[in-house]
């Protein structure tokens, strides 16, 4: 059950961020008054839903587990979000960014594991 919930919290974190950025991209893409901007509203709603689920699943997990145990799993979200941004949002992952992501992830794991 705990493993499922940790997985659910990861998926909803990643989906929430991706949808939010997708909505913001849509707003940036079309000028004010364009009907396509309305889609952004729906995507935004989806993102809020996903983040709300993640929020409550997170509190549920915190009631059972220590923050220090939970954090290393959440650290995976940085890598997952980078991969998904490149795949779904067509963001370019430069070598510098990948280096930074790996350094940050390694650091974060050390911070949470000690």
């Amino acid at each position: 059950m705990t493993a499922t919930l940790i997985l659910l919290s990861l998926i909803t974190i990643v989906a929430g961020q991706l949808l939010l950025k997708a909505a913001m991209n849509k707003l940036g893409e079309f000028p004010k008054g364009d009907p396509r901007r309305r889609q952004a509203g729906w995507i935004f709603a989806g993102s809020i839903l996903s983040m709300t689920i993640s929020f409550f699943v997170n509190i549920g997990l915190l009631q059972k587990l220590d923050l220090s145990y939970l954090f290393p799993f959440q650290d995976l979200s940085v890598i997952l979000i980078a991969i998904c941004s490149a795949y779904f949002l067509k963001e370019r992952l430069s070598a510098t960014l990948i280096t930074g992501i790996l350094l940050v992830t390694a650091g974060v794991i050390l911070v949470s594991a000690s």
């Binding site: 940036g28 009631q63 940085v78 941004s85 370019r92 940050v104 911070v111």
Partner: protein
């Protein structure tokens, strides 16, 4: 018969000023991370307080809502969220999300400074690694920003 009914495709206009990467967006990430840290601490305090309360669907943590700390946490989460939206309106998600990991620097430092908790050498090493990683990705971004400023 004239073909006047077909409207022109709306032209793709250049991005409005509010959608260009800027220093405010970087500050927004910082503010978002600070409030997120405070929120996480409040939520943990609230969740621990209410962990033993019986409730419907216990895995959702709804009993946490009985604690004022959880409500502080919710307000801080909303503030953090608004700042976050300001940031990712202009910064690519892969970059912004990595930068938001500055919370892992704020959190132990906050506990050290405010609560007097000790930080182990391993944790200091982790904090330094995070800071180095953040500098690696933030510096090219700052340069890009300068180029944009000069081009305008």
């Amino acid at each position: 018969m004239e073909l006047t009914a077909i409207p022109d495709k709306p032209e793709v206009k250049s991005l409005p000023v509010t959608h260009r990467p800027d220093g405010v967006a970087m500050l927004a990430i910082f503010a978002s991370a600070l409030t997120a840290t405070a929120s996480e601490i409040c939520l943990k305090v609230g969740a621990s307080e209410t962990a033993s309360h019986p409730t419907f669907l216990p895995w959702l943590g709804l009993s946490g809502l009985e604690s004022k700390w959880v409500w502080f946490g919710i307000v801080l989460t909303i503030v953090s969220f608004v700042a976050w939206i300001r940031a990712i309106r202009v910064i690519p998600l892969s970059l912004a999300f990595t930068l938001s990991n500055v919370v892992h620097v704020f959190m132990p430092l906050g506990c050290w400074l405010l609560l007097g908790e000790a930080i182990s050498p391993r944790r200091w090493l982790g904090i330094s690694l995070v800071i180095v990683g953040l500098l690696v990705i933030a510096r090219p971004f700052a340069r890009l920003n300068e180029k944009l400023d000069n081009a305008l």
